[in-house]
Symmetry: C2
Subunit: 327 residues, 2 copies
């Protein structure tokens, strides 16, 4: 089979197509013929050598795919039995998505929603599961509460806006341009903050927020604390401002009984992911089917444009997902 | 009635006995004739003018008492009905404990355990409820996990050691002297770290801890993160090293999916406290009755020694609770 190969530490435009053998299946896995795969920041970091693949996982890039089941592993009928060869699916994978075939745990598969095409389906798993986990399971967001989503026009941001609105929450977002804010508004955001024009922490005079989704850290941490309601939670998904955030304001931490938590999806156990996917589907799959929740695809690329996708992600000029299709 | 009065911002030795009227009862409250009251750091901070009483609460110092019910409010039979005039109790109060009489919500009362005397009972509520809340409800500590308790010989520390051991956990503690560590060991601590002799973060080569109870902040935050297990929680109860902790290490926060949370007890709602007390009693009251859990009283003082109690707390030379008795 073909896959996208790379040498660690090289530039985006050096990604290249190479040949390897198809993956062998472990118990409970199915083989998916990949139609499209999503591009994630973790992929660009892994290419740069800053984010090695977890032990025991494929060293091939790629955390999410759409495609068709072509083989089901022997045994473990209980986990695999709801799936059949020929089923169209999308899935979370711990690696190996940038390939023509990928091994996926049956419990990490979801049926392709009827009204979503294959390329768009490849862009659902990482962003919607990350947003779902961050808002509700890690952040503890409850129906009707108020949430601030930084980088609202990012792929995870746009998924988070939709999920929070679907749960009846008030959604504030930050983004760097009016154009990006207009996209956030289109997907439901209530309060739009251009962080290049305004200090976001000064936009909450009429009451704060219960949950904050942040990718920045740096001087955002204490500013987030200032606008957090009592018993609120700040969920960190990245540290775009660098490894060390500002000196933490413990007076705000204590007086607000605030919680700061770091969260990731990739490093979680297979069992955790299966449970997350099951919870997500139970609460929101019908909304994906109906089109109430929409994967936001910035651009669908052909396989020979793979280098461009990493370049664009590294330039932070995307709104929604980049996906790549084999055919 | 008599109570302990103070002028904000004055020294410990200026606390003085004064006269005022007995408190009037709100719905759901009972009047307790105070036998003894516990001394807490919040009291010394309130005297210094650094920690004002919550709105609507008594401006008299004191967060916990033992004594006898002398009056039950009209109405609200459902919350007060399990109590009768003459019952010996101990209780959490949001203020007003340094007095001969205090109004207490019936839902914030606990029966005095049979084998605990009145002065010792006055030292149970704040420390055991704070420790219980921090370990299990905020920290999420589970039976069999590993916990690090800083300031292990503090009153909250000694309660936390006992509760964690009662739940089958492995307990590490830090303290500033061998004498204090010996007390920690007496109450069940498994690993004793003299933080003046050793960098505590270098004592965990064989695996980290799941929950950390910290009162320090400062350069403890990132050292705590280093020894925290994945998905672990650091609970902050104070900031003895000052308002601003070191620059937060987001790489550790993200890679370990760590949680840092500030917690207090006094500022919580009456409903929260009632629920906390109910949960605590269900899980641990029998252990207080049997003597398996023991309130640790450093010294019982007479009312005219009140200034000395604040002095000792401000000098950090206590092991366990200071309590003061009226008679």
């Amino acid at each position: 089979m073909q896959f996208i190969d790379f040498e660690e530490g090289t530039a985006a435009d050096t990604l290249f197509v190479n040949d390897t053998t198809k993956p062998t299946l472990k118990q409970g896995q199915v083989l998916v013929k990949v139609h499209s795969f999503g591009i994630n920041r973790a992929d660009t970091l892994q290419r740069q050598g800053k984010y090695p693949a977890p032990r025991g996982e494929s060293s091939i890039l790629g955390l999410e795919v759409s495609g068709e089941i072509v083989e089901i592993a022997q045994g473990e009928e209980s986990t695999a039995s709801r799936w059949q060869v020929g089923d169209k699916v999308f899935a979370l994978v711990a690696g190996g998505g940038y390939a023509q075939y990928v091994a996926v745990y049956a419990s990490h598969l979801m049926p392709k929603p009827k009204n979503v095409d294959m390329p768009s389906a490849a862009g659902i798993a990482e962003v919607f599961l990350t947003a779902y986990q961050s808002l509700f399971q890690v952040g503890g967001l409850k129906s009707g509460q108020r949430v601030l989503i930084h980088a609202g026009a990012s792929a995870v941001g746009l998924a988070a806006i939709q999920l929070a609105k679907a749960d009846g929450c008030h959604v504030s977002v930050t983004a760097s341009s009016e154009k990006k804010l207009a996209v956030c508004e289109k997907y439901g955001a209530d309060r739009l903050i251009n962080y290049k024009m305004q200090n976001f922490a000064e936009c909450f005079e009429q009451g704060g927020v219960d949950v904050i989704i942040d990718f920045v850290a740096g001087d955002y941490v204490n500013r987030n604390l200032k606008i957090l309601n009592n018993d609120g939670t700040i969920v960190y998904l990245a540290m775009l401002a660098g490894r060390f955030a500002d000196k933490l304001d413990m007076a705000l931490m204590l007086s607000k009984r605030a919680t700061i938590t770091g969260s990731t999806l990739r490093s979680r156990s297979d069992e955790y992911k299966a449970s997350l996917i099951s919870d997500f589907c139970q609460q929101f799959f019908a909304d994906l089917e109906s089109g109430a929740l929409r994967p936001v695809i910035d651009t669908q690329y052909a396989i020979n444009e793979i280098g461009l996708t990493h370049q664009r992600l590294e330039q932070n000029d995307t709104m929604g997902k980049l996906v790549v299709s084999w055919d």
